[in-house]
Amino acid sequence: MNELVFIALATLMFILMIALAVMVIRSKDLIKAAILLSGVSLIASFVFVLLRAPDVAMAEASIGSALTAIILVFAIKKTNRFEEGGEEK
Amino acid sequence: MTPDPVLLIVIPLLAAFLTPLVALGSKKFARYVPLIGVLAMGVVSLLLLKDLIEVQPRTYGAYNTIESTTGGFQPPFGISLIVTPLGGLITFGMIMVALYVLVTSIQKKEDDKGPWFEMMAMMATAGAVGMVITGDLFNMFVFLEITSISGTILAALPRGNGEKGLNWKGAAGYAVISALASFLILAAIALLYGATSTLNIAQMAERVGSIDTFVAGTALLLMIIGFGIEAEIFPLNGWAPEVYRGSRWGTSTIFSGIIGKAGLIAMLKVVTVILAPALEGNIAMDILLWGGVITFIVGEAAAFTSKDLYRLWGFSSIGMFGLILAAFSLGGENGIYAAVLIMIGHLISKPVLFSLTGAMRHKDRDLPLSVLDGLMGKSRVTAFLFIGAALMLLGMPPSPIFWGKYFLFSGAGGESNWLLVGLLIVGTLLEAGYIGKLLWRVLPKKEEAKAFKLPITTTVMALIAVALGVLLGAVPGLLQDIIDLVVLEFGGAIIILAGVI
């Protein structure tokens, strides 16, 4: 792969990933945050492919973005969907 | 015959995988599987310790080590386990604490829905042992995770019916903070792997001399934060009092006797073996020394002001971790002697105190100091054991801690480090203060008090422990051989792990 394309792809991935991560932290709706978090993992698994780590990419895609999000959603359903007050406290 | 050290890990894993299977058949019998596992670990570690002391140095350096490689690849290509004198001693001590907890609590009906407490106690011990004896940095991380996951579960198991939910507060805090700790350690491992291209601790120690100081300093920072959280070093120990307050006495014993100790030894191993050589002068050891002293003072001060008995013992454990860390970091023959003796004294006295406290009342309530009022009148045996263990903790002779503090003061005085001596005296006075306060409550006889009966297993185990402590305190020469080996291991100021390569 051309190095410039590589850098451009990686930059794009990281910008997306950081933007999603900031949204995860800022979102008051925990379910939304969990889904955004799974997006972070999904992009991370693309970065793993860029880094020539297909095994890790597979594990990250299935564990990080699928299972983690699911158990988060289950836990949120057992508790409270919205962050109380958030930053004010 | 020397057993393979890998058995120290394989046996508990086997027992852990077997426990749920046995529990499907009989829940009652399944509680004995971890007990048998810990017993077998104890036998293995005793044989290893015996071999370490008796056999003359034969492999590397001036002291004897026992090694095991896994997967059939010589280190640094495979993961190796190395039992050094300090590792062998601590391993044995930790397993004995686990045995004390399991034997003492085996009769209790804590409304468990399965053998989970016993299983997790065993796995926390196995993880701690692994952290102490492993020769591979990433493997240490894996064992750290085993320990902290079983620690989380232990902390979450409620005491009595768990009505106030104190257990969940402690467990949630510990789960979050220990996860953070382990990822910081993983980041440090990434940095060190990048700089040295190896994970084997001995090989890394060889290569680390040539790496950049800033890299080593950053790794040091991450490692101290990460392991400091596990070892309850101030100011990273905010989670610990909640765990001590909300969980069972067995959990508290395991945190203070096993998990924290393993964190401490792992931190010492990483900092002294890998990172200290990469930094100029004595920066790493100075950080640990003053961190330890401050932890000692803060822990003892908090114990002095504490109104809840469980928390009090928790804070006193934190103080002890600080004292042990300070003694190790002081280095030299006196420092090592002090550290090992104080550690042994703490390993013996704390389980007794925790188990007696737990026997007094184990509902999900805070345990105000007033439960001790007139203990002498309620149960003479309990009162005598309590007084014995408390005085042993304080360092009243005959106690190993007395000798430990003696060596510590001579070490600090010998280096004319008067600030250190002063701070140590302040900490000891605080300690004497709260232990005096407790004894003041125990001693008076109030005949109207309801008689209180200590469970027979607790009585027997506590008696054995107190007797052992008195014996080791009266004849500290019994420990001479092994402590001399530990001093050799630390080699004065410069520490060399067995040169495996």
């Binding site: 800022r26 297909p54 597979m58 930053e87 | 495979g78 989970w116 579960i153």
Partner: protein, 260 residues
């Protein structure tokens, strides 16, 4: 806006986080990105494919690259490292997953008592989801089995295969909210697979090398790249696959609990 008024309150946190990241950044930049650091011990002007003297190599990564095919017989070098060279770590890892799955079950049994009171009504899933899931489930499980059987040949392995099976089971749960796999069966599978892993490790203690987890049959069966090759390695990965599959299923199943 509320967001703007609260922004300055989290400034100290942001500043601290950035300071931390900057420190790490300066340290990591010292570790050159993309440089072949593990190959410092190779002769100058080395070309891929040349013979090298592995005796003098001390860097683990380099030696694994040079020797892995003969020593482990695995075509996937990551699998060789995970199962063979660092098999002890992997044993620890499945133990962690096992402890977590057990612990989640044990702790939820304490929470569950309160749950009984407020059981929600479960909406039946749509017909398409129900039938579709029944159709797809066997295929997903088959794919999972394929992934862990070919762990030594292609990307993937016991962990990924196990997780794929678990996600198939998850789909089944969504399609059939009232049903669940028997905890007893899951528990039996995970314990047995764990014992099998240790058993395969003890095979090493018994055979030639007398070392735990040694793969003494690495070169005995088949050639690199064939399904039957790499000695005990695929067997260990199958045990891991079953273990991870049952543990992940159990974890999700327990977290789901009743009534959600």
């Amino acid at each position: 806006m509320m967001e703007r008024t609260t922004f300055h309150r989290s400034l100290p946190a942001i500043a601290l986080a950035l300071l931390f990241a900057a420190t790490l950044f300066v340290a990591f930049v010292e570790v050159d990105f993309g440089e072949p650091r593990i190959e410092e011990e190779l002769p100058v002007n080395y070309q891929p494919g040349e013979e090298i003297d592995t005796e003098n190599i001390t860097t683990p990564g380099l030696r694994y690259l040079a020797n892995s095919s003969e020593e482990t017989g695995s075509a996937n070098l990551v699998t060789a490292v995970v199962v063979n060279y660092r098999g002890f770590d992997t044993l620890g890892e499945v133990t962690i997953l096992f402890l977590a799955a057990t612990g989640v079950g044990a702790l939820l049994s304490f929470i569950k008592d309160d749950d009984e009171k407020k059981k929600k009504k479960i909406l039946p899933p749509s017909l398409i989801l129900n039938k579709g899931a029944r159709l797809v489930l066997p295929l997903i499980i088959l794919f999972g089995v394929y992934v862990f059987l070919h762990g030594h040949l292609s990307p993937g392995g016991g962990f990924q295969g196990g997780v794929i099976i678990a996600s198939g089971m998850l789909l089944f749960y969504i399609a059939e909210p009232t049903k669940g796999a028997s905890h007893k069966v899951i528990s039996i599978i995970e314990s047995t697979a764990g014992l099998a892993f240790i058993g395969l490790g003890i095979v090493g203690l018994m055979t030639a090398s007398k070392i735990f987890l040694a793969n003494d049959f690495a070169g005995d069966w088949g050639e690199v790249g064939m399904l039957v090759s790499a000695g005990l390695l695929p067997l260990i990965y199958i045990a891991i696959g079953f273990k991870v599959g049952s543990e992940m299923t159990g974890l999700v199943e327990k977290m789901r609990g009743d009534g959600s």
